[in-house]
Symmetry: C2
Subunit: 183 residues, 2 copies
């Protein structure tokens, strides 16, 4: 079975492919930008885009959206991690978390739509925000350098290990299990 993954991010494609291989599912990248209005939740973004891209391509579609949530604030950086990083950088983020509750979590949401069935899956990763920036020389996402999982910055965890525990992997595993039950 083939499913079409809407993303411009090659790393995410490789991660999804390595997970879905276990379920005998081929992940094919559709290199397109999803539509992300400011007011939508992760779930709303993925459902909206799964339906939209199904209408265009008429193939089984999967759309992913990820946020990071600091317990110290209401919805921050929340569904806008990239925007927040571009606005205030590490300087602002570390200042906001100073002397505050350091607990945080990543959350990934996936929606699958094949014209008939619409299903949504979630994965979560709990950790803490670090007071310093790690692995400045590595090619990782900005928040990975300041997110501690079991007190280890996730930027320092090898990708193959990270794929076993990550929020995004967990959501893909749920999708794989569900698709397996259908066949």
């Amino acid at each position: 079975m083939k499913i079409y993954f809407i993303t411009t991010n090659k790393h995410k494609v490789l991660e999804a492919q390595s997970i879905m291989k276990e379920f005998e599912i081929d992940i094919i990248q559709l290199d397109e930008e999803k539509y992300e209005p400011k007011e939508m939740s992760l779930k709303e973004v993925t459902i909206y885009n799964a339906k939209k891209f199904y209408e265009i391509h008429k193939k089984p579609i999967v759309v992913e959206d990820t946020g990071i949530f600091f317990d110290a604030y209401l919805n921050f950086p929340g569904t806008h991690p990239k925007l927040v990083f571009n606005m205030i950088g590490y300087k602002g983020i570390l200042k906001l978390i100073k002397n505050e509750n350091k607990n945080a979590h990543f959350k990934s949401v996936l929606s699958y739509y094949d014209g008939q069935e619409l299903k949504t899956f979630e994965g979560k990763l709990n950790g803490k925000i670090s007071t310093e920036i790690h692995d400045k020389d590595l090619d990782v996402l900005p928040y990975e350098r300041i997110f501690l999982y079991n007190n280890i910055p996730i930027s320092s965890i090898p990708r193959i290990e990270k794929n076993k525990i990550s929020h995004r992997s967990k959501a893909f595993i749920e999708l794989g299990k569900w698709l397996k039950t259908k066949n």
Copy 2:
């Protein structure tokens, strides 16, 4: 002459009407939400929407967008004042500005499109971010309570006075002057 102002905010309509009356221009509200993708600048948002709403209504359209920019950060809250306030509130905003350069400015951009001419105008208001929240009991925009103009919180300045100095008024005055030269 009549021009159609795309906004859901009645206060902005009253402000624009009182300014444009001087130029013998009627401002008529079109109570619709403008489209604001995360990546667009103020200018891009206003131009995009002026063209879009002209196509729908076929009447002279004006669209306004306003941001607030803290000198201490790259683009913060920038074009996303409401989103930032909903994410981190006064607590986060005041924390970010603590021990930093307090200079800031509001910037309003207006775009006018009548199917032939497309013109953009800007207005700016310089001030400082306050270390405390003023006028908690007044019905004003959140940033007005922490923005000092000549050391006075703009939340404390009567609306009629504020309309003479505000970023938005300045942009409307420029629009009025330009429309006057056309007739």
